[in-house]
Symmetry: C2
Subunit: 333 residues, 2 copies
C-alpha cells in the first residue's frame, strides 16, 4: 500500500511531526533531520496526501472551474489558460459543467462537498445568480466573462460589453453603412443585453441610420445560421451589415448568407466578437472585436488567489479594453 507519514517516521526513527515538518516549507527542521527523513521517504516512495493535510490547514488548493460554455471553441483556449495558470501556482482545477443546470444552489452543493478554496465562474451566458450563490455560501468567487455593473456583488473580470456594442456601431458607420442590424446571442444572456444596449445607443447618436435587431437562440453556429436563414426568407428586406453576438454566430450567419448566394462583404457586411483563433483562418477571415482572453484569465486567477489570503476583499470589476480587427467580412475602406 501507499506509504504514510507514520511509515516514514518509523523508518527514519523520528516523530511524525518531524516528518510533517520536512514536507511543509517554512517549518523548522535541522539539516540532519531533513536528510534522515528525506532518505526514508525516498526509500518508501512516500508522497504527502494533500487532502489529508487540507483537513487541518483548511486549504485544499482546489479551485472550482465552473462553466457552461462547451460549444464555443474559444473556451478551449480559456480552459487551457486557466488550467495552466492554476497549475503554475500549485492549484488544481475541479471542472464543473453546468450545461442545462438552472439551480445555483445545486451547483454550490456540488462544489462545496469538495471544500474548494475558491471558484471561478467562466461564462458569459450563465446567470450572475450562480456567482452570487457561491459568494453567499462563503466561497471566494470570481466571475470571468461576467457582466460589469457599477456596484458588483462579486468580483467580475471581463470586458465592457456595452462599449463593445458601441465599437461595433462606430465601425459599421465608418464603413458607410446606413442600414445596420444587431444579430444577438440568446436574449437572456447579460452579454447580449449589454452589447445590444451599446450598439443601439451609439447608432441612435448618429442620425439617419436605420437599425434592426433580432436574437439567435444560442451562441452557436447552428443558431447563427438559423437566425440568418430566417431573416433571409422573411418578407422583410436585409440590412446592409450585421453585428453578430459572437464569432461562431457570425460564422453561422456567414454560412447562411453564402448558401443564399449573397456575397460577403459585397452584398452584406459582418462583424463578430471574440476574435477566436478560427476567425483569422483565411477561409473564414472574420472581422471582429478582439477580446483579450489571456489577460482576462490571468487577472481572474490573480484575483481568486488574492482572495485566498483576503476572503472579504471588496468586490471589484476588472475590465479590459477590446479592439476592432478588420478582416474579410467588412469592406476595405
Amino acid at each position: 500500500m501507499k506509504a504514510t507519514l507514520k511509515d516514514v517516521a518509523l523508518r527514519a526513527g523520528v516523530s511524525r511531526s518531524a516528518v510533517s515538518r520536512t514536507f511543509t516549507d517554512g517549518a523548522s527542521v535541522s539539516a540532519k533531520m531533513r536528510q534522515k527523513v528525506e532518505r526514508a521517504a525516498r526509500e518508501l516512495g512516500y508522497h504527502p496526501n494533500a487532502l489529508a493535510s487540507s483537513l487541518t490547514t483548511g486549504r485544499t488548493k482546489l479551485i472550482g472551474l465552473i462553466s457552461n460554455n462547451f460549444h464555443n471553441p474559444i473556451f478551449l483556449q480559456v480552459f487551457d489558460l486557466f488550467t495552466r495558470g492554476l497549475q503554475e501556482r500549485g492549484l488544481r482545477p475541479l471542472l464543473v459543467n453546468l450545461t442545462d443546470e438552472t439551480d445555483p444552489e445545486k451547483s454550490v452543493r456540488m462544489v462545496r462537498q469538495y471544500s474548494v478554496d475558491g471558484v471561478i465562474v467562466a461564462s458569459s451566458t450563465l446567470s450572475p445568480d450562480f456567482a452570487k450563490a457561491f459568494k453567499e455560501a462563503g466561497i471566494p468567487v470570481v466571475h470571468s466573462f461576467g457582466r460589469h455593473t457599477t456596484s458588483p456583488k462579486v468580483h467580475v473580470v471581463g470586458i465592457d460589453n456595452v462599449e463593445c456594442g458601441r465599437m461595433a456601431a462606430r465601425e459599421l458607420i465608418a464603413c458607410g453603412y446606413t442600414d445596420v442590424a444587431f444579430l444577438g446571442g440568446p436574449e437572456s444572456a447579460t452579454s447580449t443585453q449589454d452589447r445590444y444596449t451599446g450598439f443601439t445607443t451609439e447608432i441612435a447618436r448618429h442620425s439617419g441610420i436605420k437599425l434592426r435587431y433580432s436574437f439567435a437562440k444560442a451562441y452557436s453556429f447552428d443558431a447563427g445560421r438559423d437566425e440568418m436563414s430566417r431573416l433571409l426568407t422573411g418578407e422583410n428586406t436585409m440590412a446592409q451589415a450585421y453585428f453578430c453576438g459572437d464569432d461562431v454566430l457570425t460564422i453561422g450567419a456567414l454560412s447562411a448568407l453564402q448558401r443564399a448566394g449573397k456575397k460577403v462583404p459585397d452584398d452584406v457586411g459582418l462583424i463578430g466578437l471574440n476574435d477566436m483563433e478560427l476567425a483569422r483562418w483565411e477561409n473564414i477571415d472574420l472581422s471582429t472585436i478582439h477580446q483579450p482572453i489571456s489577460q482576462i484569465v490571468s487577472s481572474s486567477i490573480e484575483l481568486v488567489v488574492s482572495m485566498l489570503e483576503e476572503p472579504d476583499r471588496y468586490p471589484e470589476a476588472r475590465l479590459f479594453p477590446c479592439r476592432v480587427v478588420r478582416r474579410g467580412t467588412l469592406p476595405r475602406v
Copy 2:
C-alpha cells in the same frame, strides 16, 4: 463557520456516528433518528465534507482528467462529454493540462497528491508512457484516444487508426485518384504513425498509385497551412489528393490551397479525420472520417468506473468503428 458533523450531533442530541450514518446510504438508522438528524442538519446548513470522509473510506470520487489537447476544437466536445458523464455518476473531474509536459513521473506526482480514484488520459498525442506511469503508480487508468496494441498494458479506448488510414486510402482510390499523399500530424504521435501505416499499406495493395507523404509539426491549423504551403512552393509537383492527419490540419491545408489559387476539390482533393463540428459547417464542408467521440467517451467512463470496483481488471482495448463522411472537399462520384 461551516457546520460539522459534531455540531449536528450536538444539536440533535445524538452521537456523531448517528449523524454519519444518516448521510451514508445503506447504513442502519431508524426513521425517527433520521428525522431528528436531518432536521438539525437543515437548521445548521450542514453538508458532509467529501474530502474528510475520503480519508477513512479511501474513495475521493475524484477522477484525474489528463490531456494536452487544448488546441483542437474537438476536445472541447470531449471535455463536455467527460465532465457530464462523470458528474452524472457522482464523480468529479480534476483537470490536468499536460501541454509541454514531458515527464510522466511528474504528472503522476501532481495527481497522486490528490489521491484520485482513477485517471483518464484523453489524448492521441501524449506518449503511452504517461498512461503506463499511472498504472505503475497503482492508479486505475484508461487511455482514451490512445493507441491500440495487440497486448495493451493499460486499458485503451479509441479507434483503429490503422484501419482509418486504410479507409482513407480506399476512399481516395474510389474517387479515381492515382497520385495521392499523406499529410500527417506530428510524426511522434502514435496516431500519426498508425494512420500512415494503414494508408500506405492499403495504397500498396493497389498497383499504379503514386504515394507521397510528409508530416506537419502539430495537429493544428497553422501546422497544416505551413506544411501545405511548403508543398506548394517546393519544386516537386502536387499530389491529386491528400489524406490529412486530422480536421484542423485539413482546414489549414485547405486555407493554403485556396490562397495559392487552387480549387478544392477540382484541383486537389482533401480528406480529414475526426468529423468535428466545424467540418460540417457549410463554409468549411470537409470530407472526413467520422470518429465516434461520444461512444469513446462513455465507454472510457464505464471502464474507469468498473476499475474502481475491480482495480486489477485485465487490460483491454475497446475500438469503435469509424466511417467516411463525404462532403465538399472530394469530388462527387
